[in-house]
Symmetry: C2
Subunit: 465 residues, 2 copies
């Protein structure tokens, strides 16, 4: 036994019966949630949903016709699963499209490099861009360069991200992809490449968004596969000038349509009050979007289905949202435009968007009128391998951020993402990376949490000061 | 202790001092070989050689200018390492070159597929080849089809190879790649794709040679990455017709030049007698040829260097050969054309061509005048983690086959290849897959064996019946 003070210091509440279930707060909800958990762990149906999405649709970037097909798929699938109401919300996204993307060392060691354009990158000249390379092993070393000192160069940053269960490495490295091109351009560079923000060692580069600083010229930006980044490091270590030619031909066209699908399980007593869960339907264009974020789509759709299978609807409404433009950061904004006015009715929200690994920890917002909720929830989720993290800086995911800023309470369901950045945003984001039993564990957690929040009268808004 | 009968039944001789070293046969050779082993295990230099080859040359298919640069590299490197004599042998290889290689499902589930042309494949029509797919999960199921039954189809075979330490899965699957296109064509197919002969689950297809049966039409042939083979299985499981479009634009040109490099350590007493070791210098065109077969090149070049560092040359000559066209099966033939006449002078030969994993087992040919050789060798190699496999069906590697057929004795050095087919013949065959200490273990084994065979008077020719 740990002393109680230590348990509190660790921020954990261990799953143990604190009182006879019938006497405890949320006892009824806990009983149903335990059933949902056990049903999910025996086979939640999530894998079949994910298999269907990745097989029948595959890659579905926001703005593509594949995303429109995915929205049709999602709406049809939700109707078939028995959702009470399914709506599709249409919005516009920028018309960026990937083109050719090749690179090679032309001298003195001619070799091909495997690259992919970053989302939003401008094109190189049609004949390609040839320039000497300047390589920085740390991003801060690039930032330390004087303006003009990199004139005419292709800048390569090969800083590695660490492998971390919670994705901290990606978080720390994010700026290298997001801001690196403009930082290089401010110093005179004509092209930019980074080591992929990935923890793998395969010849599959990791794409992702970048943004241009209006104060700098726009230069083409790409990610190298990690073995290619290694290769450039080995070449540059010889102290001889290395010339690289890169060719990117992405295009910018008129705005395109994207769609978010909302499936509703209508509450039996307080249907205007909403518990919001979901994943994002769009994916990058390189893989089939299995882990990012077919998994989140499948987990939350399946969680909704298990709730629908209950003899009664929960007190409140559960909405399962399949956002249609997370990867380019446009879905949450569009969603808030439609649903912002109803924000006060939103009880609790969270997005599943960290792959298919099991949920390890839960963080909840402060509650009012919900005392005992976390304890009851953890009696359900402890046996599924989840701990309560009292210290969690709750965040609900990219697509609920705008609504959270308007006051919507959000919960964090933290998954094991140790392998997530091996495949994230690459051609390797495919179904074979997903284990059905881990999806089932996620469904157990999401269905239990959604049921308990939706069937109760708990509030997750912090008390007014 | 195991009973001696069991030890013999297992085909193993345990490494243990059977007699005082100075009294034992091959005692002098054993003493030097033990030193070579210990030196190699402390750092053999092989990794630096491999780093140089993969960085400065990279992919080097037979017939490419990169292979000619690699031959220059090999000759210069051997001279710098102090080899007594370095020669370059030029020969001709077919002028096949890879072109574009794309594929996609066009209906009813439009998705891109990642493929690579098999070496020697003909091209598709320039606009691509569109046809309905027939999928076989087992190659024998294709062979069971009647002539004409696959008319107009693209045949896909998705049989998996098993992961096995000795590469048995690849051996068993080899015919699927080598002969599948013609077997499909005999039954009317217009195109052929196989699941890669690989044990990985990455979006990197495995190329390799194939051959056409003159009795069948030549149809284009490609390997799918394994996740793409999975995807087609998932699609076909729906029982609906699937149409695939494949585009391959390889070209056949005039014969091209390839080169084999031979470095010699000239024997001090019987220089005409030759112990032959080596690896192949050519690689496939997709990766940088680190494991296949930069490793073998580096291991045997470094083994030779350790022998050169001895105060005396061995009695006999050691030749380190870097064959220049193994992947397309042309180097051994060219080598035998030059060296066949001297075959009687070749004492023992073997090629290192199974990646960079440690040597686990050794198989030797029957000996005459070499009694006690294996025992002495195993006293040296046992501490390096090697066992003697008395049952081994000795084979020396693809590039010594022709010389072996002429009577050259060959030895087998069996490596741990459990991961080898994760990367073999893919873009992922890069330096990061190699561990320096495992290369060192290989060098320990090769230098010890080469020294003992070359410094002794042992014969490995079976006694005349």
């Amino acid at each position: 036994m740990l002393p109680k003070s230590l348990v509190l210091a660790l921020g954990l509440i261990l799953a143990a019966p604190l009182a006879h279930a019938a006497d405890a707060p949320f006892a009824k909800q806990e009983a149903v949630a335990s059933q949902l958990r056990d049903t999910a762990l025996k086979g939640s149906g999530a894998y079949d949903i994910l298999e269907s999405l990745t097989t029948e649709i595959g890659a579905r970037p926001a703005g593509s016709t594949a995303l429109l097909r995915a929205a049709d798929w999602g709406a049809a699938r939700m109707k078939a699963l028995g959702y009470d109401k399914v709506t599709v919300e249409s919005f516009k996204v920028p018309g960026w499209k990937r083109g050719a993307e090749t690179a090679e060392v032309t001298a003195p060691f001619p070799q091909k490099l495997v690259i992919t354009a970053l989302g939003g990158s401008v094109a190189t000249p049609a004949a390609g861009l040839s320039a000497p390379v300047v390589l920085f092993k740390r991003y801060d070393d690039l930032l330390a360069q004087a303006p003009g000192s990199l004139t005419g160069k292709i800048v390569v940053v090969t800083e590695r991200i660490i492998r971390a269960q919670d994705g901290a490495g990606y978080g720390a490295g994010y700026r290298i992809r997001g801001a690196g091109a403009s930082e290089a351009a401010k110093r005179g560079a004509v092209g930019y490449m980074l080591r992929s923000l990935g923890t793998d060692s395969h010849r599959v580069p990791h794409t992702g968004t970048m943004a241009y600083d209006p104060a700098a010229p726009k230069i083409p930006a790409a990610a190298l596969s990690n073995p290619d980044a290694d290769l450039l490091e080995h070449m540059l270590a010889r102290g001889v000038p290395i010339t690289v030619k890169m060719l990117l031909t992405p295009t910018f066209g008129p705005e395109l349509e994207a769609r978010t699908v909302v499936g509703e399980i209508t509450g039996r007593e307080a249907p205007q009050e909403v518990v919001l869960i979901g994943g994002h339907l769009d994916s990058w264009d390189l893989g089939t979007g299995a882990i990012d974020d077919g998994a989140g789509v499948a987990i939350t759709m399946a969680a909704g289905k298990l709730i629908l299978d209950q003899p009664l609807r929960p007190r409140r409404t559960v909405r399962v949202v399949l956002w249609g433009a997370e990867e380019i950061g446009k879905a949450g904004e569009a969603f808030a435009k439609v649903h912002g006015p109803e924000v006060a009715n939103h009880v609790l929200a969270s997005e599943s968007d960290f792959g298919a690994g099991p949920v390890l920890k839960i963080g909840l917002p402060k509650t009012k009128g919900g005392e005992g909720f976390a304890e009851a929830l953890m009696r359900v989720l402890g046996p599924a391998g989840v701990v309560y993290d009292r210290q969690d800086a709750v965040s609900g995911g990219a697509d609920v951020e705008e609504m959270a800023e308007l006051g919507m309470p959000v919960a964090s369901l933290r998954q094991n993402g140790l392998d997530y950045f091996d495949w994230h945003h690459t051609p390797d984001d495919t179904l074979d990376k997903v284990k059905a039993n881990e999806l089932d564990q996620n469904v157990a957690v999401w269905s239990a949490l959604a049921w308990m929040a939706a069937d109760s009268a708990a509030s997750f808004r912090a008390p007014a000061k």
